[in-house]
Symmetry: C2
Subunit: 126 residues, 2 copies
DNA sequence: CGTGTATATGCCTTGACACGTATATGCCAT
DNA sequence: ATGGCATATACGTGTCAAGGCATATACACG
């Protein structure tokens, strides 16, 4: 029994910032590799490699257009993330309520404008 | 030299399976380190280290109870994930509808039952 | 105070993965 | 066929994070 199938969860996939950037790009419409490359200002092999990962994990699919490949989103993996998130939703909506709405609004346009602050790592040495 | 401030996104945090397991555990109620350790059958230092990461990224907070530390969830990071997801929600809810419900169900218990199959990338070798 | 229990931290090793650079594949046009 | 463009892959490298193990801190109680 041969080859181990790399079971990477959807979470590992979206942990990579460049991949999230690509996904966000594709929300508006399908794009070719070259277009992604230009918009995100990253080297072409990098784009291709990330697209490969995204494709193999089901986040995107591609069709051929001459020499171009057009990539577009696929819904399932996002739903999977959403499903995971669901178990916490009860919890957090209990905690906040108006804020929830607020966040829901901001979500419309930006992707990851988060500021993950501080982590007051107090490194005391003894 | 220096203390680089590691700005890890919420996505990197939840990319780790054990951390997701811990978070799922905490949905029901707050738990001590020892309880987590026993239920998840992982060594105590591992639990503590993951809890540290979760704490510093805001996913959990702790209070002291004698020698125990009780950990519980905090809502903000989850909202952040949700906010990111929101931009895709329009998209995917257009694509599917009944399937969504289905997934929502499976989400109840497990986290990453991904089967990432093959991705019919037809790799032809010449 | 000393012992036991609960949790945190330090060090080290290992493996995964993202990147850069180079190159291969594939398709089009002339 | 030949050259050129678009995209994919191979290989070597550096970085970083997770785990194991040992140990330190903190508290409780006799």
């Amino acid at each position: 029994m041969g080859y181990i199938k790399r079971v990477e969860s959807v979470f590992e996939i979206i942990a990579e910032p460049n991949r999230r950037a690509i996904l966000s790009l594709l929300v508006s419409s399908e794009q070719s590799v070259g277009e992604i490359e230009r918009q995100l200002r990253m080297p072409q092999p990098t784009v291709s490699k990330h697209l490969r990962v995204l494709r193999e994990s089901g986040f995107v699919e591609s069709t051929v257009d001459a020499q171009r490949r057009l990539y577009r989103l696929r819904p399932e993996p996002f739903q999977e993330v959403d499903a995971w998130l669901a178990q916490f939703r009860r919890f957090w909506s209990a905690h906040v309520d108006a804020l929830e709405r607020h966040l829901d609004h901001m979500a419309q346009n930006h992707a990851n404008a988060k500021r993950t602050q501080a982590t007051r790592t107090k490194r005391k040495k003894k």
